[in-house]
Symmetry: C2
Subunit: 203 residues, 2 copies
Amino acid sequence: MALEHAILVSLLEKPGSGYELARRFERSIGYFWTATHQQIYRVLKRMELEGVLSVREVPQQGRPDKKEYSVADPGRAVLSRWLHEPIEPESLRHDLAVKIRGTAFDDPSALIGEVERHQQIHRDRLTRYLTGELRDFTGPDAPAPLDAGQELQHVVLRGGIAFERMTIAWLDDVLATLHTLGATTAPRHDPQDSPPGPSGPSV
Amino acid sequence: MALEHAILVSLLEKPGSGYELARRFERSIGYFWTATHQQIYRVLKRMELEGVLSVREVPQQGRPDKKEYSVADPGRAVLSRWLHEPIEPESLRHDLAVKIRGTAFDDPSALIGEVERHQQIHRDRLTRYLTGELRDFTGPDAPAPLDAGQELQHVVLRGGIAFERMTIAWLDDVLATLHTLGATTAPRHDPQDSPPGPSGPSV
DNA sequence: TGCATCATGTAATCAGTTACATGATTTT
DNA sequence: AAAATCATGTAACTGATTACATGATGCA
């Protein structure tokens, strides 16, 4: 369970409320992690009970009060211990890859739109990441010498950028493959002819 | 939930037992999906009750009997429906990225060994994938004209290969970053001054 | 003798998602 | 007047992991 540790890192970078954490998880940390606010609130409560976080009620005007969480000393120890433990490399789960293989038993051209949609989403993400990189790390308004924390944030962001670029290129490859299959296995698009049915395209 | 659909695809490619599925999930389909045998048995049972799979008891000699599952007609319909639905692009979770950012609050050099370990695992995976590609798709013993299913398997495998290559390169970037940080922020760790260098054998 | 492989499962727990719920303020 | 934003939460459910359990065969 690394959500706990992701929260510790984020709160060490800057204390904040559950709501703020949820928004950060859609951005910076979110390059490599996601969590819904429900999940975050639950974990925050547990961590507070365990004594790894401390809370400060912050009254606000014109807005609901918020609970600002920050990392208590035991929390630093928890994070430090985790940092020194080995972890398992992630095994990724990619639903789209399952769909691609499933297409062997269905009409390949039906997947093209979906793949293009995914590719566009990844292009948009890449643009956001590059904009963020320019703003925070490589642009003229970025801090001149980056400190250690910023260098580390930057290298993580570069990972996100590399991932999106790789994915976009791969989806080009997928599209090319789907097109060649559509050209060779689906010339019988005739409405009266039975579409690729239960037996699938047996080549 | 795509485990159900991953099972449908795998069983359409070839019927098999829960045990066999679990092993396939460590291989081919496993480039983009993983599941433990416990999870698989549970889902298989549910899918059988729902009527999307059919079972055949296969007695074996010298081995426990096995239940060979195959996809029933309603299962094909379930898969086909899913293939035509849009799905959300995955948001990846990468614990190592959390660790990298967490290193801002710890000794950067402590993470180097862990990153190198991960990189080696990715190198090993890449080697496995490339061996499999040669054996099944591009080598002299591979079937001459690949059918649609094989072309799709190949493009998914190319995705796995691209992912591993990207990851290995990124971890090089991470290591270089950690080394420069180690050189600037952790000289107070050295008992005596050791040869400085961007990627020297420090600490 | 002990370990690995084949084969199946239960029980308990943990993690994560979806739906529901409230209520003020600010923006369109 | 409606929608979005800020802010917090509960309840129910689904998905996934870990630990435990059995029992045969074959190999070193």
